[in-house]
């Protein structure tokens, strides 16, 4: 029952996030979600053996249909937060094109948004790690009790993916 509710929410969060951005941040994140979904699809396919999902509607093995879209929502959040932090800390009106400092703020997004999302997903049992295959051995992050490897994975992903989302978001709208 709990998993069914989470699965329903995993679909509902997409319009909810879109609407919340539209209403409170005056920002259309449809393109960010769509382009982020492409990255999410890629990430989920190549890492499929490492996680076991427990949702019902799936697209390939146990990968749920909603998970790539959940990545899209997360990337929209990371891009938004990263750009806000960039403008606030560097006292800029907008991001300067090709400014490599944005990569640093994207990584902050991995820590602030990605890791808590991942933690919630694991702790609620939406997915679990295939530890036998992963052979992670760096220990766990204090407070979160999550493997350090998950954090490093998020950091590396957030180095790459937000550039894709930022570049294509307007085109996908």
């Amino acid at each position: 029952m709990k998993l069914i509710l989470f699965e329903v929410w995993s679909y509902l969060q997409i319009p909810v996030a879109w609407y919340a951005f539209r209403k409170f941040a005056k920002r259309n994140v449809a393109g960010a979600i769509l382009s982020g979904t492409i990255v999410g699809l890629c990430n989920e396919f190549i890492t499929e053996p490492f996680w076991n999902y427990h949702f019902r509607i799936t697209i390939y093995k146990d990968i749920p249909l909603s998970v790539p879209f959940a990545w899209g929502v997360m990337f929209a959040l990371v891009v938004f937060l990263s750009e806000k932090l960039y403008c606030w800390i560097l006292r800029k009106e907008s991001i300067q094109p090709y400014d490599k400092r944005i990569l640093l703020f994207d990584v902050v997004g991995a820590v602030v948004i990605g890791l808590p999302f991942e933690t919630i997903g694991v702790k609620t049992g939406v997915w679990d790690y295939n530890y036998e295959l992963l052979q992670w051995n760096w220990g766990t992050i204090p407070f979160f009790h999550m493997p350090y490897e998950a954090l490093v994975g998020y950091i590396l992903m957030m180095l790459v993916a937000p550039t894709f989302v930022r570049y294509w978001q307007s085109s996908f709208e």
């Binding site: 890492t47 053996p49 090709y98 490599k100 590396l156 790459v160």
Partner: protein, 180 residues
């Protein structure tokens, strides 16, 4: 030749191969691909770290478990070649002087060219024994590609990676070379 010697030769070759491709581009195509390789290496590092248990490597110089230092740079080289050929194909097929910014048709060329470049290199690496797939544990079930005898999952993975990676490379290539 012992197996260890073969791995050593392959490892040395994999470093020289990146330099060789860089030189070919510089000398014959008048193109500096340093930025492409560096940007592509970041994507490669992400891919390799994320999918580490899929492959078992046999090289000596490693950065994380058995992941060789050179592999992310090999990805960088592969992305550089893909970006170059994809743009050539785009311009040739669409009769455009250059890539239009945000033109989604570039995805098609990136995926086709990227897979055509990446998949044979992946096949060569696996056949030569530079790495092997952890097939007993990753449970790939889509079968093998005829002739290549490689899992279909690798083809699909390349197509998806080439959908995403080249954008990062194209965006940051000049910046990583210190160009405006």
């Amino acid at each position: 030749m012992t197996v260890q010697m073969k791995y050593t030769i392959l490892e040395i070759f994999s470093y020289f191969f990146v330099l060789f491709v860089w030189t070919i581009f510089r000398r014959y195509l008048k193109r500096n691909i340093t930025g492409d390789i560096l940007a592509g290496a970041i994507v490669g590092l992400f891919l390799e770290f994320s999918t580490k248990p899929v492959n078992i490597y046999h090289f000596h110089i490693t950065i994380y478990k058995d992941l060789p230092l050179i592999i992310p740079f090999d990805w960088g080289m592969m992305f550089a070649v893909t970006v170059y050929l994809s743009e050539k194909a785009y311009r040739f097929v669409l009769r455009e002087p250059c890539i239009k910014p945000k033109d989604k048709r570039i995805f098609l060329f990136d995926v086709i060219i990227g897979t055509l470049v990446g998949f044979p290199l992946e096949t060569a690496g696996a056949w030569l024994g530079a790495w092997e797939y952890n097939l007993g544990k990753i449970h790939w079930t889509l079968g093998n590609v005829p002739i290549f005898h490689m899992p279909w999952e690798t083809v699909i993975a390349y197509a998806l990676i080439m959908l995403v990676g080249p954008t990062f490379v194209r965006y940051w290539q000049a910046s990583f070379e210190g160009r405006p």
